[in-house]
């Protein structure tokens, strides 16, 4: 911060530098400290160096305009669905993965049940004394003694 910038910021935020918002406050205090002499505290020196290095260009008035435009557009627009944002979150992804796993598990059980249904029905038919017609059942009844025992 130069002397000119300091004076401009003083007109903006008042005479008491300590009440200025960050990072204007630290920049002003650094300027005043430089004018008074070298800084003794190594941590304070590093903090000032970090602040100076971090500062970049930016238009505060443009930021305010964009925020107000966003607020106005939010008022006019209908409320967007929360689903896409939810899906992008890690919790959303985990929930989707869990749902997919559950669906696959249920589908697996269903398919397995379909396969199990055929022998079960044939065994029931066998128990009730019906004629065996298909190949699997014929194999089961190749031994005549077994057939008698049934």
């Amino acid at each position: 911060m130069t002397r000119d910038e300091f004076e401009r910021t003083r007109r903006r935020f008042g005479d008491t530098v300590e009440t200025w918002p960050a990072p204007f406050r630290q920049q002003a205090l650094a300027l005043l400290a430089n004018e008074a002499g070298p800084e003794d505290d190594p941590d304070a020196m590093l903090d000032r160096l970090v602040l100076e290095a971090a500062l970049g260009d930016g238009d505060d008035e443009a930021l305010a305009r964009k925020v107000l435009a966003r607020i106005d557009s939010g008022r006019n627009a209908t409320r967007p669905s929360l689903l896409p944002r939810f899906l992008l979150a890690p919790a959303g992804l985990a929930a989707c993965a869990a749902a997919a796993l559950l669906a696959v598990t249920v589908a697996g059980y269903q398919v397995a049940r379909l396969r199990d249904d055929l022998p079960d029905s044939e065994l029931l038919a066998l128990a009730s004394g019906a004629q065996l017609s298909d190949v699997g059942a014929a194999d089961m009844a190749t031994d005549p003694t077994e057939e008698d025992s049934l």
């Binding site: 960050a22 903090d47 160096l49 970090v50 970049g56 505060d60 930021l63 925020v67 890690p90």
Partner: protein
Amino acid sequence: MPAAVSHEEPRADDDLLARIAAGSQGALSELIARHGRGLRVFAARYLGNASDAEDVVQEVFVTVWKQAARFDPARGRASTWLYRITANRCIDQRRRRALRSFIGLDDIRDEVASPEPDAEATTAARQELAIVRDGLARLPERQRMAVLLRAVGDLDIAAIAEVMGGSVGSAEQLLVRGRRTLRDHLAMAAADRERKSS
């Protein structure tokens, strides 16, 4: 041991938030004029991406507009509340970036102007700033956040702990480690320069 900053409590922010809660857009503009730059610098250096930082800070002030009534001056300073919202948004943004990068939608690039020390300028002071920027970018995320909250936000250890959702001790440790790493980085760069010049 980092010293806590002792400066007068800016009551102006509390008043502005009360006016924002009452629906004053003028008060919001004033709050942005006071804190927009600090929040943007913090977000840009934490995220390493100026465009993401701009978006995050806009979101923060939209959130402030909607939730100003929830701010309780008795529970803490307005600036701490603002940095807390910003830090949380930055973490969310970083996760979104990482996820998008993971599924191949985009890549993470450092888009904040961080030129190479040698290319940036010939003066030693500017080279030093570039080295600090490089050191900041290399810090672990939580150390970087602690260092930036201290240097840019001018928050004391208790406020840093509140923003980061941890204990005072852990915040202090993060700050101490971050500063030490930065100093080591600066010392190594200085030694490199000396070696090259000799």
